[in-house]
Amino acid sequence: AKELFEATFAQVKINFKKLFTELFTGGEADIFLTDPSDPLESDIEIIARPRGKKLISITMMSGGERALTAISLLFSLYMVKPSPFCILDEIDAPLDDANCRRFLKIIDTFSNQTQFILITHNKITMEASHNLYGVTMEQFGVTKLVGVKFSEFEPDNVSESTLII
């Protein structure tokens, strides 16, 4: 089990360094075991340096930078052991427009082997999706689903208010 964990960790580390630099268009990051002699119990540390900035602890990063770092780590794990599907609940909420687009580009590259379902309030994510389901409550407290788009939808018309009609 120890060897398996170490092999996995080594692979995730490689992926994380690469993915972080891609999502942050530069900069660098790393993960390491605080106690390499005890891999099954050790804490896992993350350090990151966005492009042009100095190395800082995760706590001093901004909300959006933290979210993007976490996404880099999550997808580094997916690369080691791809999941057939993945459902993400509003993880694009803290991202600005440019970072949201970079995040969606990563999703796109994974879309061949993983089916992604993204719950979102973000218009950019809605426009980038192939399929769009609208969830509404016409009757109080009772969910009703409307299928809004299946790869031919006009992105300009999508807004949460149109889905209630």
Binding site: L4, S83, S111, V135, T143
Partner: protein, 165 residues
């Protein structure tokens, strides 16, 4: 291996039967606050065998059955069915289409079915063991998990690594 369809009736706000067809590519789920988007994620977790009620935002399992609104009476049962396409044989069964059903009655009784044949919860857990797809896998990511991944809670990070190993 893909998700094909999720059918929900009596689970949380799904008083009426709801069918969600999952196509390939990226699917976005959108809509106003409180309409049932995260409830879809909960339904998926639940049918995959989630037993921790706190992961479903409840304090006891009975709370996941539709408990009525101003205009509708509570229901007596919650039923969720997930249909998967097992064309690559990822799941340890010879079926190419796999259907899992989970039911919970107000009495507290539960029923589990695989391809309409009654089975135990254990059989559902075994089906997904080591596929990265069980209820506790990193396939289902809530928004607070993103913060947990990079927060000081090193155990959350470790859990994800162990899933990938």
């Amino acid at each position: 291996m893909n998700l094909k369809k999720l059918e929900i009736l009596g689970f949380k706000s799904f008083a009426n039967k709801t069918v969600i067809d999952f196509s390939r590519g990226m699917t976005a789920i959108v809509g106003p606050n409180g309409c049932g988007k995260t409830n879809i994620l909960d339904a998926l977790r639940w049918v995959l065998g989630e037993q921790k009620v706190s992961m479903l935002r409840g304090s006891k399992m009975e709370e996941i059955i539709f408990n009525g609104t101003r205009d509708m009476k509570p229901l007596g049962m919650s039923e969720v069915t997930l249909t998967l396409d097992n064309d690559k044989g990822v799941l340890p069964t010879e079926y190419t289409t796999v259907q899992i059903t989970r039911r919970l009655f107000r009495s507290g009784e539960s029923e589990y079915l695989i391809n309409k044949v009654p089975c135990r919860l254990k059989d559902i857990n075994d089906l997904f063991f080591d596929t990265g797809m069980g209820a506790h896998s990193y396939s289902v990511i809530q928004q607070d998990m993103i913060e947990a991944v990079i927060s000081d809670k090193a155990e959350e990070r470790r859990f994800l690594f162990e899933e990938a190993a």
